[in-house]
């Protein structure tokens, strides 16, 4: 009898029109992209893109763009919610953009709400816009593609091509909070032809923008961190004596390059970081067209190695100038040389780290011609 009573109690509990936590997909307005810009008096301007899917007939989806100014990210969202029919939901945000000015001031305050809300999406892509981020969204449409989708797809294809690092809200969280570690965020720019282009990466130190890489430099950076999953393309000038002429360049595919990193502390207290290893490559374009004999190939290998090492060196210098420790040298020291790390003032001492790229290039394939 008791069991029956318990069972009935259970059933009636389930039948209680509770449904406290329902948030039906039907009543949701899904935010596809969010952009944060600096507004006057320390306020923040939030721009959101909502994608509408017209039902019934096969009409094309459309984008709605809204902007609002408020004190915090969360507050602006609530303001927007009051402007917009139905309920705003952030669980499918695909692209999160920061304007340059916000990025220079620090991005964590705007990300906090994403980390704190159990329903927020942690895998939305992050990018910084050179200029005002909302301007990108107000393009509304690039070609036939809706803007937020376009941004997401641009970032995704560049990630796959090994040009931009894979960044999402969660992946930068560890790096944001931990000292001795910095990160790079893809950099977008609105071009004159009203398009959006991925122009490189923005260097961050702490939570602030401190410099930028172009596309080639970010490829080299990804090469150093062994983050290139399949291959990445590089065009390198190997015959400076040819002047500005196609024949002075060679384009190679680096085939899943894997380099070794060594961090050494010299007796004098300096830090040496050595990158060594061989990058196997496939020639995809060589306008000079002369790869038939192996001596020549050897020579090209040699010249490529020299040129690549030089470019890596320049890239690393730029990174040190920006005080961006995206290679996590500091974190490595803290982990394996804790005593030494405690004595360091990394804000200053990072600039003193000596990088020694020793990279060899070896051409394995030349396509279907020599």
């Amino acid at each position: 009898m008791k069991q029956i009573m318990l069972f009935l109690a259970g059933v009636s509990l389930l039948l209680l029109p509770g449904c406290w936590d329902q948030s039906s997909l039907r009543d949701a307005r899904l935010i596809y992209g969010v952009a944060f810009d600096q507004a006057p008096q320390g306020k923040v301007k939030t721009t959101i893109v909502i994608r509408n899917m017209p039902s019934g007939d096969r009409k094309n989806p459309s984008n709605e763009v809204h902007s609002v100014i408020g004190n915090t990210a969360r507050q602006t969202r609530d303001l927007l919610d009051s402007n917009i029919s139905e309920k705003l939901e952030t669980y499918k945000v695909r692209a999160l953009l920061f304007g340059k000015e916000v990025a220079k001031k620090g991005i964590y305050p705007h990300l906090d709400v994403f980390y704190r809300d159990p329903r927020a999406s942690l895998n939305s892509r992050i990018a910084v816009v050179d200029g005002e981020a909302s301007q990108v969204f107000y393009l509304r449409r690039v070609g036939d593609t809706l803007i937020a989708e376009h941004v997401d797809e641009v970032l995704e294809s560049e990630e796959d091509a090994g040009i931009l690092p894979k960044t999402n809200v969660q992946s930068i969280c560890s790096l944001l909070l931990e000292p001795g570690q910095d990160f790079l965020i893809p950099l977008l720019r609105k071009t004159e032809s009203e398009e959006v282009a991925a122009v490189g990466t923005a260097l961050f130190h702490g939570q602030k923008w401190t410099g930028e890489f172009n596309r080639k430099e970010s490829v080299l950076y990804l090469m150093l961190t062994n983050e290139i999953e399949k291959k990445a393309q590089l065009t390198i000038k190997i015959h400076p004596q040819h002047g500005e002429n196609p024949t002075s360049y060679i384009t190679i595919d680096m085939l899943k390059p894997r380099l070794k990193r060594e961090v050494k502390i010299s007796p004098s207290g300096g830090v040496d970081v050595i990158f060594s290893g061989t990058v196997y490559a496939k020639v995809v374009e060589f306008p000079e067209n002369n790869l038939t004999d192996s001596d020549r190939l050897e020579q090209i290998n040699h010249e490529l190695s020299r040129a690549l090492t030089l470019e890596v060196k320049n890239m690393l210098d730029k990174m040190q100038q920006a005080n961006c420790d995206a290679l996590s040298i500091g974190r490595h020291l803290a982990a394996f040389h804790p005593e030494f790390w405690k004595k360091q003032d990394w804000e200053k001492d990072y600039a003193k780290v000596r990088f020694h790229p020793r990279i060899k290039v070896k051409i394995l394939e030349t396509g279907i011609t020599y």
């Binding site: 936590d21 942690l122 895998n123 969660q170 969280c173 560890s174 790096l175």
Partner: protein
């Protein structure tokens, strides 16, 4: 109740202890041990496993002296009716309080992660009602249930391995002894409290088939598996989150899964949370069963079913009362002190007493 119908095999016993040990603590374990042991949190867990093995040995030695009686029965044999009953009731209240504490932590996590607006008492009530449906059964049926639900544990593991392969940074656990050994031991203390559950041997020992050596093997295997699983999960979280990050995340295991995406499904944490609820249910069933067996023994002539109503109501009241964070912390403190006394101190004293006064139960047939 015929004893013969109620016995369980050693394999079932193993899973019974395993499922009781894996419970509400696993989600926050990495955070808890990290807060004192830093990158060596997984070592803390292993130390905790060794410690619990030691305690298991003591409990086993105690039970071996009373091979055919449960804790409630041999307490009376040791101290006579009155003192024995008082001590037995202490164990009953320990079991019921632990059940309530499980509910408090569970409803807290559920309300923060998936059901923020649902009143906590509703969640608590659902768990109690559901688990009572099983807890009124005999040990054999409960063991069957726990064995069957154990197929979910590999899912835990698979998800953790997958997420570890995707993004890990082994640097985060170094320097290993950053916190110092003292803090590592302190961390293992915290880990120990999410590993308790082996004290169910006090209740189940006489009902397990086979000789005492086999029973020890079964419970040790359970403890070994739990230790390995926990330290692996802790390790996973430690290499995925940076030390600063893990400090601000109370449930790293869930947080870790939140950002992962498969092609057909996102938010794996929700799936994980659902699977994990089953583990919590099983732990709750074990403890409330222990409490009900005691109540049945003392007040209902051995029929633990009759204790279901008031064990459930006490649990409900205790759990609903602890709504705010400070009360949750208070419960946590009571629980750690309580379990320290009830599964370490008292059994040791009992063992000593039993040797000293040569009280021994009759050997089982």
């Amino acid at each position: 109740m015929k004893i013969a119908d109620n016995t369980i095999t050693q394999g079932q016993f193993m899973f019974f202890i395993l499922q009781t040990q894996i419970g509400v603590g696993v989600l926050s374990l990495p955070h808890q041990v990290q807060s004192s042991a830093k990158g060596a949190g997984w070592i803390s867990v292993i130390i905790a496993g060794l410690a619990s093995q030691l305690i298991i040995l003591f409990l086993w030695a105690l039970n071996k002296r009373f091979p055919s009686s449960t804790i409630y029965e041999f307490l009376t044999q040791l101290f006579g009716k009155f003192t024995g009953t008082i001590l037995g009731l202490a164990y009953v209240s320990y079991a019921i309080f632990t059940s309530a504490d499980i509910l408090v932590l569970f409803s807290d996590i559920v309300s923060r992660w998936i059901l923020p607006a649902t009143p906590r008492w509703v969640v608590i009530l659902i768990v109690i009602v559901t688990c009572m449906y099983m807890a009124v059964e005999n040990l054999r049926n409960i063991a069957r249930f726990l064995v069957a639900t154990s197929i979910l544990i590999p899912v835990f593991l698979a998800l953790a391995i997958y997420s570890m392969m995707v993004n890990m940074n082994v640097d985060y656990i170094f320097p290993l002894t950053e916190a110092g050994w003292l803090d590592i031991i302190k961390g293992s203390q915290k880990a120990l409290f999410s590993m308790v559950g082996f004290e169910l041997i006090l209740l189940a020992y006489p009902l397990v088939e086979g000789n005492s050596g086999g029973k020890l093997k079964a419970i040790s295997l359970a403890n070994l598996l739990v230790t390995l699983l926990y330290s692996f999960l802790t390790f996973t979280c430690l290499v995925i989150f940076s030390p600063r990050e893990i400090e601000v995340i109370p449930e790293p295991l869930l947080y870790m899964l939140k950002s992962f995406t498969f092609n057909v499904i996102e938010r794996i944490d929700l799936i994980f949370l659902s699977i994990w609820s089953v583990s919590v249910f099983t732990t709750f069933i074990s403890y409330i069963f222990m409490g009900m067996m005691g109540l049945g023994q003392y007040f209902h002539k051995g029929n633990h079913k009759k204790a279901a109503w008031w064990a459930g109501i006490i649990c409900f009241v205790l759990a609903v009362w602890a709504g705010q964070p400070e009360k949750i912390r208070l419960y946590d403190k009571i629980f750690s002190i309580g379990s320290f006394i009830m599964i370490m101190v008292v059994p040791l004293l009992l063992l000593g007493w039993s040797y000293l006064f040569k009280v021994k139960g009759e050997t089982s047939t």
